[in-house]
Amino acid sequence: MTTVLDRTAAPATPSTLPAPLLRERGQREVFCGLTSIIWLHRKLQDAFFLIVGSRTCAHLMQSAAGVMIFAEPRFATAIIEDRDLAGMADLHDELDRIVARVVARRPEIRMIVLVGSCPSEVIKLDLSKAAERLQARGQHDGVRFLTYTGSGIETTFTEGEDRFLASLVAALPAQEQNAKPRLLVAGCLADVVEDQFRRIFTALGIEQVDFLPMRESTVMPSIGPSTTVLLAQPYLTETARLLQSRGCQLLHPLFPLGEEGTTAWLQAAADAFGVDPGRFEAITRPGRDRARIAMTRARSELEGKTLFLFPDSQLEPALARVLSREAGMVPIEVGTPFLNRQHLSAELDLLPTDVTLSEGQDVDRQLDRLRDAAPDLTVCGMGLANPLEAEGFATKWSIELVFTPIQGYDQAGDLAELFIRPLRRRALLQTGRA
C-alpha cells in the first residue's frame, strides 16, 4: 500500500518535525472509538452508553473489556438485525423500545448517550435526530440524551472520547457576560489524578476549575471567552476545535506526563492566571522533587534501552518524550494513528531528531521494521503482544497506558514502572523458554 515520505511540513504547521514523517495506509491494528466507552462509562457515573451497531460491536466491547466487569456495565449494544435493514421494523421505533428498557432497568441513569457505529454510519441512521426526538418527547424525564460516533470508519480508539467530549461541549451552557476567568481541563483523567491537580490549582490560587468530562452528567460547567482550556490528553482534536469555536482560550503546553511535562502543563495555567512565579515554584517543588526521585530510580533500569511504539492512543509522542528525556530510553520509531501537529508542537520539539515518526499504519510493514530494529521494548496492542513475545521481543500492551493513572508528578514513577516491569520480568524468569 502507499507510503509517503513527507519532508515538507504543511504550511500551517507551527512546529518543524524532528524527523521525516512516515505516512502509511494499510492494515491498521487498532481499536475503533467505541472502545473508549470502557473508561468513559466508569468516569461518568450516571451515564449509560448505548451503541447502535452490530453483533461485532457488542463482541468487541466484551472482548476488549474482558468479561471481568465487576458491576453490571453501564453500556450495551442495540444490535441491528436483518429485519431492521429490510425495513420490516422501523429503526426509530426499535430504538425507542430499547431505550425504554434501559431506563426501566437502570432508573438512576441521568444521561443516555446514543453511540454511532460503522453499520449505523453506513446505513446513515441519524442518531442526533433520534436523540432530539427522545429528548423532545419528554417520556424519560430527567434523562439527557446525547449522541456521537465511535465508529471505526470515523474514529480510532481514543478519538471516541474526543467525539464524546465534543458532543458534551455542544451541550454546555454559555457563560454569562463578564464571567470570572475559569480553567477547564479537558480529557479523561483518573479520579485520583484529577483530585491531585485540583489541589495544586487551588494552592496556586486558581479556584475556578472544571474538568471535562465531569463525574456527574447533571453538573454542566458553562464555557465562553473567559474559559482557558488545558488539554489533559493529546487526542482531543475535535473537542479543542469546538471549545475554541465557543470562544475558549486554548493553551498548548507539553502534556502532563513526567516531571517536565507536568510542570510545563501547570506552568501554562499559572501563566494564564497570573500566578506569582515564587508561589508556583513553592507549590510545585515537592511534586517535582518526588517525580524526579522516582524517575532517577527508573532511569537506572531504562537508560539506553531502545523503544518502538506502535500506533494506538495518540499518546505515543508524549510518552516517547518522557521516556527519552527523563528515563534515558532511545525511541526508534514512534507510531501514532493521527498526528495533531498543533497540539503536539511542544512535544515534537523535544523528541530526538533521529527518531522515525509514523502516522497511520501498515502493520505488516511496521512489523518488518520492528524486526530490523530489534528494540529492547515494544509498545503495542493486545493482538500483537503475545506473538511478539513468542518471537523474543519484550512488549508492553498499550491499552494499559490509557487505563492506568500516569499523569502528574505522583504518577511519573508509575508510568516508568509500566515500562520497567516487562524488562524486569524477562530478567527474572529462569524457565528456559525459547
Binding site: M1, G33, T56, L60, V67, T77, C118, V122, G383, N386
Partner: protein, 509 residues
C-alpha cells in the same frame, strides 16, 4: 433490534476466523472497517496463541467509502498472497463491509491468484459465530473434498471433525479422543479443521466414517461427506461416562469391531468417585444448566445419571439446535430455555433456585452475584478456559475432569453438616469462605444476593428474621423465598418462627 449487554456468540466472521486460525496454510482476507482487528486478541490473548491469526483486514475508513473500497480489497488480497504465501485463501466481509456489497468473492476471482480461493457469504445481521464457523468449514470441505470416493477404504478408519481454534477445551478433547480411538483399534485419518491443511481436506474421503465431536461446527460438513462419499458419522458426543460408553459402542459398530472388547478399554475414575460414600451429599442437588447445545445436553445427562443431581433448569443459546435441547429438557420434566439474552437466563436462574449452576462465563458471573457455586461447561471462552494442564471434557479423562470441576465448588459433605450443627459458630459464618477455597479472600463486605421482594410481601417478625440468619447462608435465600411464598399462599401478613418452620416442613423433600 436486540439489546445486548453481553453476547454468547460473536459475529459469523469470527467463526470463520476460528476455522482459519485452526488450520495450517490457510489465509483469510476479510473486508472490514478499522477496528474489526480487535478479533485478533481473542486468539492471542484468550487462547495465548504464539502467532497472529492468519487474517488480513482491509480496515477501510470513512474517507475510503467515497473512493474505491473494492480496490483496497484487491490490494489486500494480492499483498496477502505475496507476503504469507498460503496454500489457499478464504475471502469474505464483516458486518459493515457486507453493507457495501463489494463482493469479495468476485473481486478475488478477478485477481486470478495462483492459489484456490473460497468465497464466504456470512450474513452478519442474521447469523452468529458458530453458524459462521460451520458454514466456513462446510465451504472448505465442499471445495477440497469433492473428488472421487476412493476404493477399498479401511473400515476401521475415521476422521475427527469439528475442533477449532478458540473452542472450549478442543485442544485437549482431540488428544483424548485420538487416544481412545487408537486404543480400540481405529485409525484416525484426518483431524479437521484443527491442525489440518487444505491438502488434508482432500484426504477426508479416504476414511470409512466420521467422528463428529462438535455438531455446532461439523454437522453440515458431516452430512455433506455422508452424501458425497458415503461416510456415516457418529451421533454421540463423548462427554460423560455414559456418553463415552455409547460413543465407543457406536464407533465400534461403524468400524466393524467387537463392541464388548472396545468398551473394556474405557478406564475412568469418575463412576467410582460418584459411587463412593463421600458423594452421598451430592444427591438431589438442584443444578441449572446453560450453554451451547452439545455441552448443555451432555451436562444434563451427567448431572442426573452420573452424579444424582436434580436438573432444575436446562437451556441453550444455540438456536440451530433448539429442537435437540427441547427434546432433552422434556426428559427432565422441564421446558427448555432457548435464548441468547443473558438477562433472561439470569431471571431463570433466580426462579429455579439452583444449588449449582453449570453455565458459561456469563452464568458464572450471575452465580457469583447470587452466591451460588458454579462451574463453566461451555463457550464463550475466557482465558481461564485454556488451562495450562491437560483438561479435556471428552473421553474417560474428560469424565474425571468434569467430576472434579463440578464437585469442588460445592461444600464437602461433612462441612455442610457442620454448618448445620454449629450455626452461630464464630468461624463458620456467612462471611467465611468454604475452607477448601482460598483463605486469603475473607471478604465480608459483599452484598447479599439480590432478593426480589414483590409489593405487598409478608413482613418478617424480628425473631423470625434472626432465626433465618441461623440457616446456612448458601440456602438462606431459598429458605427466605420459600417462606415468603408459603406465607403469601396462606394469606399470612407476618412471618413468625412458626411460619418459618411450617414452610420448611411444607417444602422439605
Amino acid at each position: 433490534m436486540q439489546l445486548a449487554m453481553w453476547t454468547y456468540e460473536g459475529p459469523p466472521h469470527v467463526g470463520a476466523m476460528r476455522i482459519a486460525t485452526a488450520m495450517r496454510g490457510l489465509h483469510y482476507v476479510l473486508h472490514a472497517p478499522q477496528g474489526d482487528t480487535y478479533a485478533d486478541l481473542l486468539f492471542t490473548m484468550i487462547e495465548r496463541d504464539a502467532k497472529r491469526p492468519p487474517v488480513t483486514y482491509t480496515t477501510f475508513q470513512a474517507r475510503d467509502l467515497g473512493a474505491d473500497t473494492a480496490a483496497i480489497f484487491k490490494t489486500a488480497c494480492a499483498d496477502a498472497e505475496a507476503r504469507f504465501k498460503p496454500d489457499a485463501m478464504i475471502v469474505g466481509a464483516s458486518c459493515t463491509a457486507e453493507l457495501l456489497q463489494d463482493d469479495p468473492g468476485g473481486l478475488a476471482a478477478a485477481l486470478g491468484l495462483s492459489i484456490p480461493v473460497v468465497a464466504l457469504e456470512l450474513p452478519s445481521y442474521q447469523k452468529k459465530e458458530n453458524w459462521g464457523a460451520a458454514e466456513t468449514f462446510y465451504r472448505l470441505v465442499r471445495s477440497f473434498a469433492a473428488g472421487p470416493t476412493p476404493e477399498g477404504r479401511n473400515p476401521a478408519s475415521c476422521n475427527i471433525l469439528g475442533p477449532t481454534a478458540l473452542g472450549f477445551r478442543h485442544r485437549d478433547d482431540v488428544e483424548e479422543i485420538c487416544q481412545l480411538l487408537v486404543s480400540i483399534g481405529v485409525t484416525v485419518n484426518v483431524v479437521a479443521p484443527l491442525g489440518a491443511s487444505a491438502h488434508d481436506l482432500t484426504r477426508l474421503p479416504q476414511a470409512a466414517f466420521n467422528v463428529v465431536l462438535y455438531p455446532e461446527i461439523a454437522a453440515t460438513s458431516a452430512s455433506f461427506l455422508k452424501e458425497r462419499h458415503g461416510q456415516p458419522f457418529t451421533k454421540t458426543v463423548p462427554i460423560g461416562s455414559g456418553a463415552c460408553r455409547d460413543f465407543v459402542a457406536e464407533v465400534a459398530q461403524l468400524a466393524g469391531l467387537d463392541v464388548e472388547a472396545a468398551l473394556a478399554k474405557i478406564q475412568s475414575r469418575a463412576p467410582w468417585y460418584a459411587a463412593s460414600i463421600d458423594s452421598n451429599y451430592l444427591t438431589g442437588k438442584r443444578v441449572f444448566i446453560f450453554g451451547d447445545a452439545t455441552h448443555a445436553i451432555a451436562a444434563a445427562r451427567i448431572a442426573r445419571d452420573e452424579l444424582g443431581f436434580t436438573v432444575c433448569g436446562l437451556g441453550s443459546y444455540t438456536r440451530e439446535f433448539a429442537r435437540d435441547v427441547r427434546a432433552a429438557a422434556k426428559t427432565y420434566g422441564l421446558e427448555a430455555l432457548i435464548t441468547d439474552d443473558h438477562l433472561e437466563v439470569e431471571d431463570a436462574i433466580i426462579a429455579a433456585q439452583p444449588e449449582l449452576v453449570l453455565g458459561t462465563q456469563m452464568e458464572r458471573h450471575v452465580a457469583k452475584r447470587l452466591k451460588v457455586p458454579c462451574a463453566v461447561i461451555s463457550s464463550p471462552v475466557h482465558v481461564q478456559d485454556f488451562p495450562a494442564r491437560y483438561s479435556p471434557q471428552m473421553g474417560p479423562e474428560g469424565a474425571n475432569v468434569i467430576f472434579d470441576s463440578w464437585v469442588h465448588p460445592l461444600m464437602m459433605g461433612l462441612e455442610e453438616h457442620l454448618l448445620g450443627m454449629f450455626r452461630d459458630d464464630f468461624e463458620f459464618h456467612d462471611g467465611a469462605n468454604p475452607s477448601h477455597l482460598a483463605p486469603a479472600s475473607q471478604k465480608t463486605s459483599e452484598p447479599e444476593a439480590p432478593q426480589i421482594v414483590p409489593p405487598g410481601a409478608p413482613a418478617w417478625a424480628q425473631d423470625a428474621e434472626s432465626e433465618l440468619k441461623k440457616i446456612p447462608f448458601f440456602v438462606r435465600g431459598k429458605a427466605r423465598r420459600n417462606t415468603e411464598r408459603f406465607a403469601t399462599d396462606h394469606g399470612l401478613s407476618t412471618i413468625t418462627i412458626e411460619t418459618l418452620y411450617d414452610a420448611k416442613a411444607h417444602y422439605s423433600r
